[in-house]
Symmetry: C3
Subunit: 323 residues, 3 copies
């Protein structure tokens, strides 16, 4: 996952720091590549200004600030070299996306977001230590833990207006209209499944993200496409909630599971391919289950379904790729 | 827990495979014995066709298919020999019971159940790795995790009709009539506490299960009876919810805790006896607490209270039986 | 954390046992000192009889019985010497406080409280084993697990009347009046943030607790004051729920985090000071988030926000104090 040698802490040039920062955007989808990160940032800005639904420019600026703050926090506080691979920034950028997808634009929302982004550096090291004995890591869970803390707090804190959060309801009150769609619509749902990795609702951004992945790894690009398509198929076959399908909300967690299992933690191969497909399908159910579980508190699952499903597929520590 | 020598993977006869499959039914209650498994299957079929409440034949067929699918998945995918002790099947059989206790009879419910049963093989290895450092295992938690994913998803997926699931309510809205009963009724509640281990509501099945246990281990049969009786006593003394008492729903988790602590993971003895009694009592409260916690999402606790309570009693790693 | 040499189990004098018991009260705030424990008991009795709100004498008697029962259970059942440092009693005393803050005065509530207090000895050893690989412990989590089991069960058990429990609501229904206060009022909120560590609502008790801490450790007293003040500031700046601020409910978890990080698990110093401040701020958000998360089940967070936040700050295993 590295494409250059690690440098001693105080020998980084400005370009090194920029590269390390951009890689944070790439590492959300497991790509240690600054160009991938740059394209992803472009995709986020495009998709937040020209969203398929309501524009949400704040999401892009939150992402940028979260990425910078968390990477800077890592360089300042951490003795390890993870930052050069973008491993400090990938949680922070998502905190920025999540906070401004769900909260309004106040000074204190920005404060919470900035503190939260920096906090992911500590949380990541904490959770990674927990997973270290099992040869795996915490993935995006530091982002999730910190963001849930902020998004739930928003219900009790007047300066964190939960303008984008859902109304809490009982799961048994869910009603969903029948799904009907044309083929071009289906393509949009599929691409939104990829853009929603960064909480962006834009099929164009989905295309930009595929290109961003392909720059670093064609397998990753392929898995993003396969996983979003398979997740969409499963969601449609089981007649899952219409609104969530349309907005790509059954896709983004499986996309991450697919890239993680299919070509990041295992080397591509037949066994690994089938295993990752199973992981993608399972993620759709974990996604639906977590949506339902969180209905009574009215917050989003974020990428937790990906984390939970991928942990369950990584913890067995199967040797699938070294035959 | 084994009663024969482990065989090399490809030297199994058809009879070996049948035995390994049936042991899966026995291992739900920690018995590595094909006859126990067979009697349990008979008990499940009897109890689902001639239930004390509404007949639910699908539960028995789900159990059978889940048992076969998960055992087959283990033989196909796993390199370890756990299957000969029935350790692949005990989660799968429960997935079959749970899915058709709560969901309707659709092609996609069967699909989810079959995929879920196979999935428990992966989940079991994942969770067992987590508990390995503490000299204990994941018990029935793979079944719980997979079944919760399916049962929660059912609220969002039109092809998984949650016909048997509870309506979500606030716990503070619970009202329970006073409990009054005759002695013969009390005996039925006590036996249902045993039959509900497999989500079966039948006092006759409770008797069959006791016989099934006694075939392999008289201690296990004794602990099933002791635990269900003690749990019933605690539930009545604390005036717990009438409906749950009548249906044996305070009994099944303590039954499993009793067998686990009293004669499976510890050798029977005075200290172990008292420790297992404490475990059984604690399980009643964990059971009630988890019921309440899940009210707002309207799903069942399954055997999670047993897992949680037994973990808490196993994790201290007390040496109670080797003095 | 010890101020005398550990003695062989059967050589304890009556005074040793009294000291070990009182230290249990002190260890809730990490102080291995019998005088601290005695002052804390005095503070609890004062604050429960002369509460700022409604008097709740039962809380003090519950605390006393819980402390004695759990310490006795430890001396009877445990082979380790933890009791001389008060490490058996600190969970039991809190169970006593919590049960009678939320439940009514029935024989069965006392029974549940006494069994629960004893149970914390087992639960503590279980959870400590889980955290041992990470060089940290379970803090007050045994108290939380046992108390949640009892407090949730109370909704289903007629003999455990949940007279002090909140009505379950959706978090999106929370409405909070604007906060306005005079300076003397602010001082009371600040001191209640300290008294609420033991679920006591009394600014006088807050002062007694500060004195109790200072007897053993001036740093601990300082951190209690700093943490409650900082938490109050954060809660006010973010315009958090008025009622919770007034009752000190944003203070008690940060107080414990501050003492834990600032002067218990790390030696005081500049880096540690800043790290503990960050921990205190983070705890406020975890506190608010857990309040919201538990709204639909209508139970209290107890000290869980402190545990969660402090684990996240301890698990990275930073070396902050040995430069």
């Amino acid at each position: 996952m590295t494409d250059n040698t690690i440098q001693a802490p105080h020998e980084r040039s400005f370009a090194d720091v920029i590269r390390g920062t951009l890689r944070g955007a790439g590492q959300v989808m497991f790509q240690d590549n600054a160009w991938t990160g740059l394209l992803i940032m472009i995709g986020i800005f495009w998709g937040s200004y020209f969203a398929d639904g309501k524009p949400a420019p704040l999401v892009a600026w939150g992402a940028l600030v979260g990425l910078i703050v968390s990477t800077a926090a890592g360089y300042l506080f951490e003795s390890r070299n993870d930052g050069d691979q973008g491993l400090w920034g990938f949680n922070g950028i998502l905190v920025g996306c999540a906070v401004f997808t769900f909260l309004g634009n106040t000074v204190w929302a920005w404060t919470a977001m900035i503190l939260g982004s920096a906090m992911t550096v500590i949380a990541r090291r904490a959770f990674n230590n927990v997973f270290a004995p099992f040869n795996t890591t915490s993935y995006t869970f530091p982002f999730i833990a910190v963001s849930w803390a902020i998004l739930l707090s928003a219900r009790l804190m007047g300066e964190l207006p939960p303008v984008g959060e859902a109304t809490a309801i009982f799961p048994t009150e869910i009603t969903s209209p029948e799904l009907s769609f044309t083929f071009p619509e289906l393509i949009k749902y599929w691409l939104r499944g990829i853009s929603q990795v960064f909480l962006v609702d834009s099929w164009v951004t989905g295309i930009i993200f595929i290109v961003a992945l392909a720059v670093c790894s064609r397998w990753a690009a392929a898995w993003a496409m396969i996983a979003s398509a398979l997740a969409l198929l499963v969601a449609i076959l089981f007649n899952a909630d219409h609104v969530d399908i349309v907005n790509g909300l059954f896709g983004y967690s499986p996309v991450l599971t697919g890239i993680a299992l299919g070509c990041t933690f295992y080397k591509p191969g037949v066994k690994v391919f089938l295993y990752a497909l199973a992981g993608v399908i399972f993620t759709v159910f974990v996604q639906a289950a977590m949506y339902v579980f969180l209905f009574p508190v009215g917050i989003a699952t974020l990428t937790a379904p990906f984390c939970v499903a991928t942990w369950i597929f990584m913890l067995p520590m199967y040797k699938l790729d070294n035959k």
